[in-house]
Symmetry: D2
């Protein structure tokens, strides 16, 4: 693991996700640029001192010299955005499979470069767009793909948060500080942090790609350096249209990311606050409540569920689904087996490139006087 | 009543609304341009034959000659949009108070002219934007106005319907036919029919006015002549921003109009499917569930409720609230009494003018290459 | 109308219910035993002074002497329980159809006598068990009757209220005072006031009859004279079993009456707080959300709905459904027409007798050391 | 781990729960009485062959001979009920801390004996009543204990399942087979499997103890050997009363265990389908929505939560909370540290004894003609 030392939020989440299905063992880490902290973190996590490194460069250098059966197989990178590209690049160049926290990189250019490297090296790469790990999101994608809803016409996605309603970065909140700092986050704040999730969810579920965008991007809280709020009108290839909303100033909101997709014949709705439910809506017959664990679900939903219907699985299990599917895919690759489609259903650098393109396009549109801008990659 | 003959949807709703609180008696009507149908409708509604008229012109002419104590006092106009202005104008000129179905008129120009006439005649005028009749919407407005949420930053309003997902106007559906016909509806379809409701709700609850708009307006169903779908980025005077969505092609959706408003300190959420509930959200303490009938509500909510908490009131009661408040205001005026603020809280031609301006601006924006257009009235 | 003078809760509800569908005109009343109050109420309600009576005896005596076309046709009795039997009896004996508020009478004996009179006179009789007026409750009954759920096994019904959590009758609350007074309410408090509703709902939806009962009946609030809380284990003819809960001391609860019925093949769930929804549950396929106004509903649900799906109807409309169905049935009888099954679907004295039997049996069981007592009528 | 070989449901759940917080390492196991299967399971779980045992007796015998730093510390027993007592007893006698799946034992007598042994040995013991691991259940208990609701009057608990609506044990369903077999489950079916959960939840949240009970216990599905359905009227010490419902024949239901508790001043409601929410109800002010992760929660809720509000945690995390708290308590004991009250908040043999007493009392009551029976332990 690169990053994720004591006090980090997402690093701890990655570690839990990796443990749930017993597919990973944490063997080494470069948890912090501060050697003291790196060491303390590693020891707390039960690592051997010899495999607690002071930098990711050291980690890659030393690990790749270990015998194959000892050496780390998958590297998890959970640093702030500005520290994604370099370690990910070096990991690939050193021959390690990579799990990377989103958004992929600091810039679209870096993302394209990483994507190129992934293809070139033939290594596997997972980008942790957590929400696509939910079984009912997988079901939603399958339903849309099956054509049951007819041709898709509308895609509405929203990610309302309220935790940045005040000037949190002014009061030493570490999570707020780096996320609102252009040096660490890049050109976008809310759009990068949660807008990319919403965008990824919209494309994943609908199976469509955004090709034009018209955005309103705002810095609502005085003194903040990056956007904390925005919305965009979307046009998709194939003719569908939609809306994306992402805000961090909806005071009182938690993390209720929500998606609705409508086709000619019906619609679907999902929201994180009721994550084990997928609503299937029909104009001429009763709406249906699809539930995690239901025997009528697709193999994609079933594969990503652990306990019987009615025993809720949540965010950590969705995260764990990415980790497990990636592990199964890596194992298959190592063993020369064919990976099942259910295993390969995790986000990678293709999604990473589109996510970075979203950031660049949505910010460009926010600044533009022109109504629609083409979504360029 | 003008319009609303047998088979009409909204005419029947108006009549129920007028009866619920026993403030009105239906005494005369011009229910249809077809004399046969007009007469049949009038008889079915229990009118004396002498007061069933063949045209609104005849109605006004004859009614105003009746002695004051016999003559109709309030005229309800429930015709399609293209037949709003003329009868409303004539009603005012004939000295009658008017209740008019939304949207106010066929064009903004007509609306302004009506608004002028209302001021000039000093007569009372009610425009039936039903959703503002809900007690919890009134509570929402009071909460925003009280400053409890702090300065308002975001306003999200949506009105998803699915009933026009197919080409309904091709199969003799009367409600679909006139609503999608430019000759009867005007320049807008969905934007006029439900977009105006969403717009009105946004301004009513937030207490703010839209001053810029950027819209995506679509005809989704092939062969349709007017928009059946749209969305708009909104800017409000004072600096808030927001989103408006209105669609009639969200297959499987009913009429779940919904509004969320966020200020510096908290937010509120209401939706018609749970109309007796208003959610009040706070960043640092539990969200609150305000319920119709709760003893802790404002006089505005309390005044518009009939039964104890937990006995749901719905759409017809919301509609009846407009009718009752208008009746109380008319009575006060007639008796020379001062009307209470709660009575005067019904939409009128001020809202009518803004609604028609919304239609013209949103359609203009939909056609424009320019990103933001000023909301002109 | 008998009873329902100024300040009465349920009288006003009855009047609204009678107006909604324009099937009734209030022509006379004996609103109070206090002549002053009776007169004031009558005038406020717009009655002619000649038809405001000082007693129900006077009302019946004078009304039956009026010419048939002038005379009242249906008498609505909305007095407290101890004043149900006498006026209802006199109304039937005087040849008037009757609408009576629940519970039917003060004692089971009286109820049986009234039921006998109804049969004897051939007059129509409606007992206002409001909750069976909800369209989705009618749908629930139809679904059970259709056999779709298979043989019924379990019936759970509950009616939690919280308004009597304190000693309200000690502080001049009129609604609380008569409901907790054995002289006015009879032998039961909560069991009579809301327990009968729950019981009626259970039998109406399941189509089954309770034949054994084991109850726990409590007076929770110190000083109260009648039960304010209770629960009962139920056995139904045919072998199903169930639970009934009714309490007025569930602090913070409103009126969320709720019923769940399970058969061999599936189950249904309804609650007043989401009255326009009926959940249909299956073990092996997605649950379904049936909604008022849906085109797929039975004629019984459709007939009891006024507005399109998504525009909520509530308690007053459910009440109005009883009034309207009764009016349609009365008209059919007067005109010698055959009444449709949908019109005849209102509760009458058969339900009244069973409701009073419930009160006597549940109270007897509450006092008994014996576990199961036979439900005797 | 004792039991939980390939194909077992709850064994896998225990293992996930143990991994989530990285407090346990699986070092040895006796997974099955079938040596072949035991070995295969152990290998699949990554154990060294030397520590895969053919019986729990062998496990205890060999493990206790290992040096303290190598030897297993905590033994998890996840066998069917009839195989709880012997291994648990032996584990304690061999000096190991124990985690045991519920219900505690096959009989009350065994439970008391185990409880005695726990006290005698001074070892720690955890009984996995999962639902008390939910943070909002912990919050509920704290709220009741704080007195905010006033004296408790009513406790309603229910656990409806539908998975045994058919004769599943006849079709080779392993989960169904042992649960409906008196040889493996004991005297109770549904009452033991889920009734004990409901009972435990009721006592845990209310802080009260049941002292009288009146139950209706049924075998609904023909051919079944143990109860699959039941309900009980409850009396608590201190004067509160309540209802417990547990059924496995509510066709279409999943696992929506639910509890409501009302005191003089307010009430609370929680259900597993919305596990991250706790409703707090008041008679005179808005209900409150308490949410996992909220900054306003008690230390007991906060301690049992991993991710920010709005990222749902579920059943596995609730289970993991038991495991983690037990680990923290064991560590504290080993290190001679004082355990925090939050760590010690896990169910043990005291709850085990009461749970077994519930089974014996509820079944006895179901068979009795007497109305109330004293809850004897």
């Amino acid at each position: 693991m690169i990053g994720g030392g004591t006090g980090a939020f997402i690093g701890a989440v990655h570690r839990i996700a990796s443990r749930i299905d017993d597919q990973y063992e944490l063997v080494c880490g470069a948890f912090s640029s501060d050697p003291e902290k790196a060491r303390a973190s590693g020891i707390m996590l039960g690592l051997m001192e010899s495999r607690i490194y002071n930098s990711y460069a050291e980690l890659f250098e030393k690990e790749k010299k270990l015998p194959p059966e000892e050496r780390v197989q998958v590297v998890s990178i959970v640093t702030p955005n500005h520290l994604h590209y370099e370690p990910a690049k070096l990991a690939l160049e050193s021959g390690f499979h990579v799990i990377l926290d989103k958004p992929a990189t600091f810039s679209l250019l870096e993302a394209k470069e990483l994507a190129r490297l992934v293809l070139e090296t033939g290594l596997l790469f997972c980008l942790t767009h957590t929400y696509t790990g939910y079984p009912m999101i997988k079901e939603a994608r399958q339903i849309v793909a099956s054509g049951k809803l007819g041709e898709i016409r509308k895609v509405y996605v929203e990610y309302p948060q309220g935790w940045l309603s005040g000037f949190e970065e002014g009061s030493g909140n570490k999570q707020a500080s780096w996320r609102t700092d252009p040096q660490q986050s890049g050109i976008a704040g809310a759009m990068g942090d949660i807008g990319t999730h919403a965008f990824n969810l919209a494309e994943y579920v609908s199976g469509l790609q955004v090709n034009r965008i018209c955005a309103d991007i705002n810095i609502v809280v005085k003194g903040r350096k990056l956007d904390d709020d925005g919305a965009a009108l979307l046009k998709f290839s194939g003719g569908a249209s939609g809306l994306l909303m992402a805000t961090q100033v909806a005071a009182g909101e938690e993390n209720n990311v929500r998606i609705r997709v409508y086709g000619e014949k019906g619609g679907i709705e999902w929201q994180q606050s009721d994550a084990n439910t997928l609503l299937l809506k029909w104009p001429d017959r009763p709406s249906e409540i699809l539930r995690t664990g239901g025997g009528y679900l697709s193999s994609f939903a079933a594969h990503n569920t652990r306990v019987p219907a009615g025993h809720p699985e949540g965010y950590l299990e969705a995260f764990a689904n990415l980790y497990r599917n990636f592990a199964l895919s890596v194992k298959a690759k190592i063993n020369g087996d064919e990976a099942k489609p259910e295993w390969l259903d995790y986000p990678g650098m293709e999604e990473g490139v589109r996510g970075m393109a979203f950031i660049e396009n949505v910010i460009a549109s926010g600044r533009s006087e022109q109504k629609w801008i083409d979504f360029t990659v």
